[in-house]
């Protein structure tokens, strides 16, 4: 946040800049320290005392600031050593898209700067160099919530570019909040990959000693170097401890906790593998449906990647709730080519039944659904239960919704949305294409649909 006009004016008048060492006379008391950027909220001047503490000073009309000494001291640079290429080790390309998987704290100002180049990254996470030759590239520097489908397309192209350049695996660093959307999108857009592409991020920022960032990176690198997996996956902490990371299927994973290190959970399946941090041991979960569904592809450098990045952004994800007004569907009707509902229970049930006076307007909901599908909009139902299969034949509500053209999508709602955008990028939603669209939606493309629900998969235990 910027300082108030008054404070900025005073700083200017006294020819003092942020970062200068100064004596501040608030009008009442005198303080010595370094003028800090504004990190407060109430119009005080923030000063860093010599003992390291920051405090806020209220300035009155008589306040004065006097610069005492030019603050030339900048943070000393890390000792950088040119990375030597070791032909006996695999090469991993790290593509940064955002978040601060690696960052440096400037203790003078308290500022945090992300680290993007390979030398700096390896100096911070030297274990990476033990595992592989590292090269780094910055693609974006953005929060994951700001990512657009166009960004997915760029990342997909960058993946193929790196493969063409030659490497044994790719790590994509990513903000965590929407990482599972990106993972799913990449799984559809960049298929038939010869090598592993692992997304990772951090739940605790890397400016603290307890950050999970380094371990996630190290485990991802380890997995790439020491397994024969290929394709897209996510690598994040498997428990609150710094014990192991889970390798999670791109289309079957969801961020399920706001703050824990092990926020990412496999949904309706198990992790692909577990990487022990201390020993580096990789344990595959071969009894999972990811394997039985034949979604595991071994590394094969001869394989040619298939890049299909077409995407139709006119798709939406709508969550239903009690009291939902059918009118709001009008906007979607006029602006979307496809819609995914996150409804209730096993069928993604919506409020379509008229039972008494209070539920009369539910008739409109059914009508709107019908209008949507007759207009050519494809409508898919998923469940806000998140866990469990979608089956629209179980209740009359589900059958009624099917009768007006709604179709089930047994996928995590977010994945259904991404897949629908990708499918509609290939086929225009003309009447003639409806069957092709649904055929693709119901077909397993990238591990998003699994035909069996196993007894023990409502947990992440291996």
């Amino acid at each position: 946040m910027e300082y108030s006009v008054e404070i900025l004016g005073l700083l200017k008048k006294c020819s003092v800049k942020i970062g200068d060492r100064a004596v501040v006379n608030s009008g009442k008391k005198e303080y010595k320290g370094i003028i800090m950027p504004n990190t407060g909220d109430s119009g005080c001047l923030v000063l860093k005392l010599d003992n390291g503490y920051n405090l806020g000073i209220e300035l009155d009309s008589k306040a004065e600031i006097k610069k005492t000494k030019e603050e030339g001291a900048v943070m000393k640079k890390c000792k950088r050593e040119k990375l030597q290429h070791d032909p006996s080790k695999p090469t991993i390309a790290i593509l940064h898209t955002g978040g601060t998987i690696a960052s440096r704290v400037d203790y003078r100002t308290g500022g945090v700067t992300p680290v993007f180049d390979a030398e700096d990254l390896v100096s911070m996470v030297p274990e990476l160099a033990d595992v592989a030759n590292i090269r780094c590239r910055l693609i974006f520097q953005m929060w994951s919530e700001d990512m657009e489908p166009e960004h997915w397309q760029i990342i997909a192209k960058e993946i193929v570019k790196e493969i063409e350049e030659g490497c044994d695996g790719i790590i994509i660093t990513h903000g965590t909040d929407y990482m599972h959307y990106t993972a799913a999108a990449l799984a559809f857009m960049a298929r038939n990959l010869p090598i592993p592409v692992i997304l990772t991020g951090s739940q605790r920022s890397s400016d603290r000693g307890s950050s999970d960032a380094a371990m996630n990176l190290i485990c991802a690198a380890n997995f790439i170097a020491n397994s024969d997996f290929s394709g897209i996956a996510i690598c994040m902490h498997g428990s609150s401890s710094d014990a192991y990371c889970n390798i999670l299927p791109a289309c079957k994973t969801r961020k399920m906790h706001t703050s824990r290190r092990d926020a990412f959970k496999p949904i309706n399946t198990k992790p692909i593998a577990r990487v022990d941090y201390k020993t580096g041991r990789i344990e595959f979960c071969e009894n999972s449906t990811f394997f039985s569904g034949k979604n595991y592809n071994e590394k094969d450098f001869k394989r040619i990647p298939v890049l299909e990045i077409g995407y139709n952004k006119k798709v939406a994800l709508i969550k239903s709730y009690p009291g939902m007004a059918a009118d709001q569907l009008d906007w979607y009707m006029n602006n979307c080519d496809g819609v995914v509902f996150e409804g209730g229970g096993i069928a993604g049930n919506l409020a379509i039944n008229v039972l008494d006076d209070l539920t009369k307007h539910h008739a409109l909901m059914l009508k709107k659904l019908k209008d949507m599908t007759s207009k050519g909009i494809v409508v898919y139902m998923t469940s806000q239960c998140i866990y469990g299969r979608v089956n629209m034949n179980v209740y009359t509500t589900g059958r009624d919704m099917q009768s007006v053209g709604c179709m089930p999508a047994y996928m995590i709602p977010e994945v259904a949305l991404v897949k629908l955008g990708w499918v509609l990028g290939r086929f225009k939603n003309s009447a003639g294409n409806k069957e092709k669209i649904d055929e693709l939606m119901q077909k397993n493309i990238a591990g998003e649909i699994i035909s069996r629900s196993e007894l023990d998969e409502f947990s992440d235990e291996i």
């Binding site: 608030s26 407060g40 503490y53 609150s240 824990r260």
Partner: protein
Amino acid sequence: MDNKIDYQKIGFRCGIEIHQRLDTHKLFCNCDSGQKNEPNIEIGRRLRPVAGETGEIDRAALFEFLRSKEFVYKASADESCLVEADCEPPHEINKEALYIGLEMCKMLGCDIVDEVHVMRKTVIDGSNTSGFQRTAILGMNGFLNTGKGGVKIETVCIEEESARIDEKSEGKIVYRLNGLGIPLVEIATDSTIKSPEHAKEVAEMLGMLLRSTKVQRGIGSIRQDINISIRGGSRIEIKGFQELDKMPVVVENEVKRQLCLLGVKDELRKIGIKEKDFIAKKCVTDIFKKTECNFIAKALKDDAVIHSLLLPRFSGMLKKECGDKTLGKELSGYAGAHGFGIIHSDEELEKYKLYNEFSELRKEFGARQEDLVLIIAGKEPGVSKALDSVLERSRYMLVGVPEETRMAHEEGSKYMRPLPGKARMYPETDVPSMRITKEYLDSIAVPESLLVKEKKYSKEISEELASQIIRSKHLPMYEEFRKEFEPRLVAIILTNTFKMLSRDGHDIDKIKKDDLFSLFSLVKKKTIAKESLENALVDLIEGKPISYIESRYRIMDDERIREIVKDAIKHNPGARESIYMGALMQKLRGTVSGERLVRILREEMK
């Protein structure tokens, strides 16, 4: 003892840091600060050096240190939450803790900050799950007046308590999470404390002021760290004072230790000893292969190796007094920090059955009579580190006093670790800054200090009792009860009687405040006699209800007593008064005052 040293002349500088736990929930979450359940959860973590520390410390060494350390946090799931586990950002700062901190600032006359900014102080020993301790400055430039003179209060801060070590083993430290995050107020004086006695006085007065507010009591709730240096010496921090009475002698011995080390330095320099004259010889294990010394033989069987060191012209020196210990302890402390001991040629080698081996070792070194040799035995890699650290410490004898953190021990202190560098701090961006408005500050009343209270209560219950009660954890109860009941009686029960009952093995914590109130009410209404209070308290501890106590100790009327007295005389006619009294008092235990009984007895004996 004090008068032997002229503290001003030797450039004595001394300051105190006090950490006091507050009696409120944790600073950045809503967990209780008095957790005591058995842990049922374990979280394993590792810490990494945070970039930005580059250039200031040996990063590679720090990295290696952390790489080899695993931290385990034990917690009870129903007591500790995700904040303590560093799995959730901190909540807003505990407003009550902030209030108490500001009370203290006001009591010490500090300049109070206009806006509080919480900082992260980097801590990488694992005692904080996050890798830093949250801390904020509240006040500066306070003042404390004591009998021996005043000291300036440099800072008053509010911060998180760190986690306590449960167990430690090679490569792994286990912490308990229950202490982490308890609010602490940290008060730091400047270094103008004049003498060891003055240090104790300052610590005592600060403690009294702190206890005038809502703070935790009992073991571990307050900690004093002392910083000491003399001219030519170095800053030494001593932690872990168990009792304040020991403080003066510990401080004095630290001064003597520094004086000794400075003397040794001068001596060594005079005879021209150089750093290179200190020689290490690794792996002299072969010399000891056939030793008759039991513990060395046993260690060797366990794959230990033996390293050795020659200290030039040191023969006899390690017996030198250095504070309350010997100069030899200076060196063995450094080996001890790595878990090893040393054996040197100033010791009785015959007793250890090591005489021949040391003679051999001397030949190996080409040592002169006046040189000292020492050995360290143990397993690699630790034993090499211990040797390096003893060598470095020995060489420092040429420089003077190394900066250290030491632990109070017996009459002095022992080596803990090198003094840490200046803590690195950066803003805690997850906690918004807080404005301290004038209106808010004005609403904080400065609590009556215990010193003022002591004076006030002296008048109503005697100086001695007042001094006891204001130091007692039952002070709040006293302050409440004194308004209703006879203050002296309340004070005696809460101090002497409680102490006595505890000594006899009774758990006085089982006495409920409401029951105690009822008990005093019974005395006030003259239903029971105050003499029966002690027995009644034992009954309470044993779980008897008030109604039981009321009927058990009900004061009897004169007629009933007279009958019992008559009965006693009839059974044992012609006995002396004291015999009757003894028997009657036992029988009537507490239900009648002695005075009344004597009166009735005398009337009947006539």
